[in-house]
Amino acid sequence: MNNKYKILVVEDESNIRNLVSAMLESNGYRALLAASLREAKLMYDSHVPDLVILDLGLPDADGCDFIKYVRGSSPTPLTPIIVLSARSNERDKVISLDLGANDYVTKPFGEAELLARVRASLRNHRHSADSGKLPGGKFELNGLEIDYDARRIFLCSEEIKLTQTEYNILAFLSEHCGKMLTYSAIIKAVWGERCEDSSVKKLQVNMANIRKKLGIKPGETKYIINELGVGYRMDG
């Protein structure tokens, strides 16, 4: 019973809190509940959850403040955070992702969708915690293999030839597998540039080539998930 993942649900609407809690509990997770930023901080510090599901509209503060709190001062700053919000603007998504949220789920959402995101975030956290970029580090996801030392990519054991830039993008996504990465985060990591219209175009052209080389057709959610106007996420 003790090896259940602990998930902190920060949500001020009691109906949604109960719903999320029921979805999690019935799927083998332990849900901790908080209705305000104050409660969330208390729960976070005393229980050290494995993941946080966070609503942005809290009564005593903006949810973004909690992201800053977790990423900034707490002893476990890397705990995955999934934002749950009724705000569907690209700008709101980008802000919370750039603050350090791992993923963004828009209300209304279904059980299947929420659980998939929870699993992906937990898996990613485990993955980056133990493999990282150690020598001999390898990445594997449903037949996609990345050999970080040799800078080579294999799809079902067959090598895929990528350009340097394409490799860098894919490697960066894989290192943060399961996490939604904004355009600006990727551009900064790959080119070291500020995010502008021209660099976003450059990224999208490269991404189109990567998808073609990996044989991903439009509408397929294989390996790379595209969140229009926001960024990309690597996932099964």
């Binding site: 690209e90 219209d197 976003v200 999208q204 509408g219 595209n226 229009l228």
Partner: protein, 353 residues
């Protein structure tokens, strides 16, 4: 802003210069100069009528007065402010400028008020239609939930049916809310929508992913341009248009087995087409199809046609806000929806990739 100043100055100069030359013509060829003041007064009137605000009219009145004084009254080609005729023509022209400008400004203001009124009216129509339409799914959700809570006699099958009903009608509400959000996104700023360059591949990808989530079994045949094309747009809104059109086929095309989404690159525009081989629509409907919700036709909202009204109206509004037009055309079998977005801007594909 700068453009309008330039345009106004151009109008002012060209009309004054024409007036000047015509006057010279009259004077030299026909040897009459009584009509010169009238001619300049007419020029001032035209300038006040076609430019914005008071400034240009008044400037032209001054220039006109000086020109008459200098060139067309004795002594010719010298200033002489002692003749009372000049003062009179100056007063007449400035009065003309002021009155005409005041009148045109007033007319323009009235037009703006009229447009605003129309928007308010459209919003009211929309609100009424939506509130009315929302009652139906709410009835299912409210009633089913209450029965499920209080009625223990229900069979397992009845319970299941009610839950399915709740789910379906919530889906309908979700779509309705998405469309309404799109409308507010167009409506909120009076300025044009903010466009960013979007790769067609990514747009279509996210649309198909979203569509597949709702209709997992519906296959969509895609045909896209080979190279990556960027089109300036509001991606959320254009996604909404494509989803609405695809959904429209699924919900209203009746019996069909082919749903196609084509994106064709043209010289300086991109053409989007959605085609199904379903039942099509009556020919006389193709024009009215897009103004179900926003038009004055209030009877339409009452009829039972689940979401088609608002969906297509929203499509038309979004495409219009992008500076395009959406059309529907019956084919031999089925219907094809088509809209065109301009590529404009600089669209050289950066080579230093």
């Amino acid at each position: 802003m700068k453009n309008s100043v330039l345009k106004n100055c151009f109008i002012l100069i060209s009309i004054l210069v024409s007036a000047f030359f015509i006057s010279v013509l009259f004077q030299n060829v026909f040897s009459i100069d009584e009509h010169v003041s009238t001619l300049f007064a007419f020029a001032v009137f035209l300038i006040s009528l076609t430019t914005n605000g008071y400034v240009y009219g008044i400037i032209s009145a001054f220039i006109g007065t000086l020109a008459i004084n200098y060139a067309f009254t004795f002594p010719y080609f010298a200033f002489n402010f002692t003749i009372p005729v000049n003062l009179i023509s100056a007063i007449v022209m400035i009065t003309i400028a002021l009155l005409t400008s005041a009148l045109t400004t007033k007319i323009k203001m009235q037009e703006a008020i009229k447009a605003e009124n129309e928007r308010v009216k459209m919003r009211a129509t929309l609100l009424r239609a939506v509130s009315h339409d929302i009652r139906t799914p709410l009835t299912t959700i409210y009633g089913s939930a209450e029965s499920l809570l209080s009625n223990s006699e229900l069979t397992e099958e009845q319970r299941k049916k009610m839950l399915v009903g709740i789910k379906e009608d919530s889906d309908w509400l979700v779509r309705m809310v998405e469309n309404l959000l799109s409308v507010t996104r167009i409506d909120s700023g009076k300025v044009k929508i903010s466009k960013t360059p979007i790769a067609i591949d990514e747009l279509i990808d996210s649309v198909i992913v979203k569509f597949k989530k709702r209709y997992p079994s519906q296959n969509v045949i895609l045909s896209l341009p080979e190279e990556t094309v960027f089109v300036p747009m509001d991606p959320t809104l254009i996604s909404q248009v494509l989803i609405n059109l695809l959904e429209n086929s699924v919900l209203h095309a009746g019996d069909f087995d082919r749903l196609e989404l084509r994106v064709i690159k043209d010289a300086d525009s991109v053409i989007f087409e959605i085609e199904d081989n379903g039942c099509g629509i009556p020919q006389d409907m193709t024009e009215r199809l897009f103004d179900g919700y926003f038009g004055s036709n209030e009877g339409l909202a009452d009829s039972k046609k689940k979401n088609a009204g608002i969906g297509l109206s929203v499509c038309a509004a979004i495409i219009k806000a992008h500076g395009g037009k959406i059309t529907a055309r019956n084919t031999e079998k089925g219907i094809v929806f088509r809209f065109i977005l301009s590529v404009e801007e600089e669209n050289q594909n950066e080579q230093q990739i």
